[in-house]
Symmetry: none
């Protein structure tokens, strides 16, 4: 049977220390349920001593019934020269009411003397007293040996004393921390082995990604016998972030035969996206396993290879983590890419080599003109339908005009007028915007929204401009790619022109076309 | 003396296989010079067999004089059952005219039989013939043993035969490739040791990041004796990307005592940013070493610790890579960076701490509004002059109006009218363009050209649009960066607005300002 590794997620605590992340109370409650649904063992959700919002959160969180996870409150050891029973921080930790607490103490002599400003002996007492007190109060105690690896390098005897002290005081788990994220794998190995010889306890690992080694160091620690892995699902955390669990869990479970979250691993792709959504950060699509690019192939030889031998250009089967394979169409891709791409939506066409060849030729012409369908799936679909004579738009644009000049108030200088035709009926609309494209988008929705109310629920969620052949500078062609959403689905469209407004207009029209044609299905 | 490790960058070849990356010819030439300035040893810049654009690029690139780097053309071994002397791909590789070529061949039996569809023997012949022929033609040959690690797992004997064959044929360097990026460090170690026993050659490593282990695996390979490191500066590449040199170089050079790029390491931060700018991708600020967040501290305890003991919460001194420390709460950051920036052009100001501080505050405000002077040196200069009261523009823009609508002929829909004032005299001009920005640019030159004939020799050589805060889609701010040239010098300017036309206008005005102010000098 596979060896079980405990997963400890700190997205809501260490993750919240990342630049640009601020969770509301309801965000935190939502994230708690989400992480629980993934089969995470421990969810470290905050430091109740840090502010009143955190205390309020724990009041609510302890009442949430979790299926898989244990809720963890995080805090520091008692202050120097203070009775642990009256220490305010320790009291907050107790008051949080969780069954499990994570307590951090200094394992680097420099920190004890220069940052806390106490003696090495008192630092050990602070650790002993706090762990012992929490343990005797019935808590499961995870001790985070902060800066253990830097401490080991500076004064290995003292770092090991810290570990022994926490163990003797009753810590159930000791997590060795690379708080500054600078430890190289071979140093890490030596320091872990020394700790394992010094004390007998359940070992954990907690590393930061400042050297881009957090995943490797965590996996190495597990291979050395560590059974408790700390990190954050998407790697969020102070500076360069914490060890990314979305990369570690599949590595351990799919490659090395450990068991982390069992069958929940199939939900990894979707849970990762939802976590980013709650956090309100753009998703990094190049992320291993969970990024949209992780199994997206652009090179023609790679695509050809995959069609001939599955697994020839992929390290795992994408569906194991809930992801899927994608072939990007580009000037470096070939006919087999086109055929594969057509199979889902136009299976009869995919079988017709002549038609595939003709589409490929037409696509190459368009690419020479600057089109690139690789990030605009929906425009690709419309392109194929048009080429096959299957496309019937439900509206046409009769005229448009966009104007931009400073006004008296020097604001809202851009406005647009559009005239559309739907079933023989003309309709005009006008709108201002904080730029010409924004104005055009609004006017178009205004005019068409009278015929197609479903357009009102659609929002533009992304807008990208790429200048082609930059040598021609402002006379060059631009490619505009927009992302639209009705709240549930996302689709991508593209337009190309020397005129950024016209290119945007083409993409907007394709996007509306997409919605109206999908609705019909 | 530190052991020297060769750095081989493939941003322009493997990097171009990443989703969303499309380099123009001038982008590639610019990137070539940029990477050379960082002290990179080899720059793999494309596959001349893939398309005519690539051939054209090599025609120009071989004429660029490089200070540190060797230009490398990339290609495949000859086709099966073909004489190497008439093979089209090998001929393209020769025609590229570079002193160094990188050739890849299959080291995984499955690929030889199922993807190429040949025998294991013929695959070895393809490798031998190609390496030998290129070597005898006077080229330095780097052999990429594609899929070496997967091949070693499947059929170690054959993978080692591939390596021996390339060595016997005269390859100067053999790079062992983890093409699918799925290899775990311990498997990597075993396979590298076996290769090193099988052949005596200069060893290289080439890994992808699909398991988030590319940096760790590369460092491990070097520790095992590999002296040639392949990757891409910012990790761009197919799927999850290639090994990120911006993380590997400091790891090797600052942590482990190897020498990669010598003193150029101080330029890492700025070169990384400029490379992202050329690529027109947003910079990931959480990147180790080169991200703005890498030494940005948010946690109160961390900031407090750093103030008490330097290095207590940092794994390296940020200035070693040209980065700087930032405290997100107290905002005392960046002064030294600003002073460094001023030293070249405004040495007296650089010495005045108060002025530097005031400029820093103003710069922070602008950065919060979306300005970024990385990549727009000329606008930075104008910004400083304006803040110091040294800037006196030779013209002002009184009014402008841009209009865009289809015409009867359905072409040239965009036109612009501008009114400028020079020394109290107003002058109007109008122009059509193939887009609104092009029209505005022409009208502006027309109006001002009557006063300043030198404007007529200026052309816009690059135009880039970056959407900031993509969540707001078409209502979001954009940053426009333009490159101008008078045939001899190039300069870069920037504008920010929610309105792409207005942002372009700001950049155009700055660009003209730059020319007229420089002329005075």
């Amino acid at each position: 049977m596979a060896k079980r590794i405990e997963i400890f997620d700190s997205t809501l605590r260490d993750g919240a220390q990342a630049r640009g992340i601020n969770y509301s109370l309801s965000d935190k409650i939502y994230m708690l349920g989400l992480l629980d649904s993934l089969g995470i063992d421990y969810i470290e959700a905050g430091n109740p001593a840090s502010n009143p919002k955190e205390r309020l959160f724990f009041e609510q969180a302890v009442r949430v019934s979790l299926k898989n996870a244990k809720l963890v409150a995080f805090g520091s050891t008692r202050r120097k020269n203070t009775d642990v029973k009256v220490d305010a921080g320790v009291k907050s930790l107790m008051d949080a009411g969780t069954d499990v607490v994570a307590v951090f103490g200094k394992a680097w002599d420099l920190h004890a003397t220069d940052v806390i400003g106490t003696t090495l002996e008192e630092n050990l007492c602070m650790i002993y007293d706090t762990v012992r007190y929490l343990k005797e109060s019935g808590r499961e105690v995870i001790f985070d040996a902060e800066h253990y690896f830097d401490g080991f390098k500076a004064n290995s005897g003292y770092a090991l004393d810290v570990v022994r002290t926490a163990c003797r005081a009753g810590a159930g788990t000791i997590a060795l921390c690379d708080t500054n994220g600078g430890t190289m794998p071979r140093e890490l190995e030596e320091a872990i082995k020394a700790a394992m010889e010094a004390a007998d306890v359940k070992w954990g690992i907690h590393v930061h990604n400042d050297s881009e080694l957090a995943v490797a160091n965590t996996i190495l620690a597990v291979q050395l016998g560590t059974v408790h892995v700390q990190g954050t699902l998407l790697g969020y955390g102070e500076r360069c972030g914490n060890a990314r669990l979305s990369s570690i869990i599949p590595g351990l479970q799919l490659k090395l035969g450990y068991d982390c979250i069992g069958d929940h691993i199939k939900d990894l792709y979707h849970v990762a996206r939802e976590a980013a959504e709650i956090t309100n950060l753009p998703f990094d699509e190049t992320l291993p396993y969970v990024g949209r690019n992780a199994f997206a192939h652009k090179g023609g030889m790679h695509i050809d290879g995959l069609c001939k031998a599955e697994g020839s250009f992929e390290h795992i089967e994408p569906s194991l983590v809930g992801n899927s394979r994608e072939y990007l169409l580009s000037e470096v891709a070939g006919k087999s890419a086109m055929a594969t791409k057509l199979e889902d939506e136009f299976p009869e066409v995919a079988k017709d080599k002549k038609k595939v060849g003709a589409l490929m030729e037409r696509l190459k012409d368009l690419e020479n003109e600057g089109y690139s369908f690789e990030g605009a799936e929906s425009s690709f679909r419309i392109f194929v339908m048009k080429e096959l004579g299957l496309h019937k738009s439900k509206f046409s644009l009769v005229h448009f005009k966009v104007s931009d000049e400073p006004t008296h108030e020097n604001t809202f200088g851009a406005y647009a007028v559009v005239k559309v035709n739907v079933n023989g009926e003309n309709r005009m609309a006008a709108a201002e915007g904080n730029g010409p494209v924004n104005a055009l988008d609004k006017a178009l929705r205004e005019a068409l929204g009278q015929f197609f109310p479903e357009l009102k629920s659609v929002t533009l969620t992304d807008y990208k401009v790429r200048v082609l052949d930059t040598n021609a500078a402002t006379g060059a062609k631009v490619r505009v790619v927009i992302e639209s959403s009705d709240g549930e689905n996302y689709w991508h469209n593209m337009g190309v022109s020397t005129d950024v407004i016209e290119a945007s207009l083409f993409a907007l029209i394709d996007s509306i076309d997409h919605l109206l044609l999908c609705k019909k299905d």
